[in-house]
């Protein structure tokens, strides 16, 4: 039989290697075959034909940050739920189903509480700031 340390890991590493080789090989081909006539105008970032104004690396909407935060919370919670889900049937077959279900549901209820809180706070609305300003004007 095949030694255990090769189980599973080897094909992943091989596929990653093929991806890198394909990238490098394609690049090499492109370097050999493609014309190279760089000019300043050609290498300016595209801004509809105008001279670019300032850098694109500037401040961006804080919404994206909030979405990222909410994502991390939900992602970590779903990661924590995966092992429970994987052995849930086993627990049920052992006769511990109701107990497992109560624990599982209480964990999910914490998750639901989180999404309800975000919803109430308006963090799930993309145009929240706009709506607030309209209210103030009234």
């Amino acid at each position: 039989m095949i030694p255990a340390q090769f189980d599973g890991l080897m094909p992943i590493v091989i596929l990653m290697g093929i991806a890198i080789l394909l990238f490098v090989g394609g690049h090499f081909l492109s370097v050999v075959l493609s014309p190279k006539k760089p000019s300043h105008l050609k290498q300016t970032p595209y801004e509809c034909g105008e001279q670019p104004v300032g850098s694109a690396w500037s401040a961006f909407n804080v919404r994206f940050y909030v979405v990222g935060l909410i994502f991390i919370i939900f992602d970590v919670e779903s990661v924590l739920m995966f092992p429970v889900a994987a052995i849930f049937r086993e627990l049920n077959d052992m006769g511990e189903g109701a107990y497992a279900l109560i624990i599982f549901l209480s964990f999910i209820s914490v998750l639901l509480e989180g999404i309800a809180y975000c919803w109430k706070k308006g963090d799930l609305d993309w145009v929240k700031s706009f709506q607030v300003s309209v209210k103030n004007n009234k």
Partner: protein, 372 residues
């Protein structure tokens, strides 16, 4: 223990012959088998990705009553090769303000992320390169690299269109990962394991044993998964990161030639992978429509054909959806994800958990055919 392609093949007699050819060096033989198989899979997927671009143009032409590409090869089927050659011979332009290292890294990450998911994609019961015991979990984790590459590509270009596209792409991909993950979680719960072998083993036999028809919650979970998968692969109607009428071309505005080609290739293969995962999790994958313990290589090839048929049908639906629904706005996108799909997905998860406890994990078909 993980079942792998090599451990599957080692039950056949020709494996011993091969082993003696390699001088009893098991590691070398395993490496060779994986390398050959990986080459076949990557070649197949690259062709499918290429044909995907062709199918996309041909189907869109059909839907809009045009002819579509018809010059290169019979019915224009070699169009993707011509496109590939054109991309290689295009001049490689990088904005002088760009972050050079990240600019190179982004398409490579996309390729690595997509290709590594192919390792656990179940072509049939036996032909899984590595049937990891955390299979579906690994797939979710490693395919997040594509999201990273979208954002990196947008950021590294230092162009305003790219930056907007990258930001939109990142927020969209991470948002829709939640409903997709929770839908997959309900299938994990029904199957009682994370490996594709376990999940497929539960769906053996007639279509009524598919997880799609296991219970009403699993049925809804499939559609949540499919909508989320559309958004995760930046397909219309969720193609905001590369909305051509708003953002020029989104995160790959500044990418030309081969690097753009790699982004496109990774994207089309990713669509194939999410369709494959959908067919394996919900539609029974490559399972034969009858139960059998008889196992020979030609039967495995039949399974591959069944798997491919289901996957390519889903692929067709993905393309079809693109030409049917208009693009969403950013706020609609976010509210669909967080206010509709995520609560529905959590509801499905709870429903599935309750179903497993109440009906002892039996499907509707098993209950109807007189279980308890």
């Amino acid at each position: 223990m993980n079942q792998t392609l090599v451990s599957y093949l080692s039950q056949y007699e020709f494996f011993d012959v091969l082993l003696s050819l390699f001088g009893k060096n098991e590691g070398l033989l395993a490496f060779t088998i994986y390398l050959v198989f990986a080459g076949i899979i990557v070649g197949l997927c690259a062709t499918i990705g290429g044909l995907g671009t062709y199918a996309e143009r041909k189907i869109s032409a059909d839907i809009q009553q045009r002819i579509g590409p018809n010059r290169v090869g019979p019915y224009g089927i070699l169009q993707f090769l011509a496109d590939g050659v054109k991309m290689i011979t295009k001049e490689d332009i990088m904005p002088f303000t760009a972050d050079k290292f990240l600019f190179y890294l982004a398409p490579m990450l996309a390729l690595i992320g997509v290709f590594s998911t192919l390792a656990v994609l179940p072509w049939s019961n036996g032909f899984i390169m590595a049937d990891l015991n955390v299979g579906i979990f690994y797939l979710i984790a490693i395919s997040s690299l594509v999201g990273v590459s979208v954002f990196l590509g947008g950021y590294a270009s230092n162009s305003k269109w790219s930056m907007l596209g990258g930001l939109r792409g990142a927020s969209q991909i991470i948002s829709y990962e939640i409903p997709v993950t929770i839908s997959i979680l309900s299938i994990t719960l029904l199957a009682g394991g994370m490996s594709f072998g376990t999940i497929l083993g539960q769906q053996e036999g007639a279509p009524v044993h598919w997880f799609l028809f296991h219970n009403p919650f699993a049925f809804i979970a499939f559609f949540v998964y499919f909508v989320g998968a559309l958004a995760e692969t930046n397909r219309a109607p969720f193609d905001l990161p590369e909305a051509e009428s708003e953002l020029v071309s989104g995160y790959h505005t500044e990418y030309t030639g081969m690097r753009f080609g790699f982004f496109a290739l990774a994207e089309y293969i990713e669509v194939f992978v999410v369709c494959g995962v959908g067919s394996a999790l919900f539609l029974g994958g490559g399972n034969l429509p009858f139960s059998t313990t008889f196992d020979i290589i030609p039967l495995q090839l039949v399974q591959v054909v069944i798997f491919m048929t289901k996957t390519l049908l889903l692929y067709y639906v993905v393309i079809w959806v693109r030409w049917t629904f208009p693009r969403l706005r950013v706020d609609q996108l976010m509210s669909i994800c967080w206010k509709y799909l995520t609560p529905i997905a959590i509801f499905n998860l709870v429903g599935n958990a309750v179903w497993v406890v109440v009906f002892h994990g039996k499907s509707i078909a098993e209950l109807l055919s007189g279980g308890h």
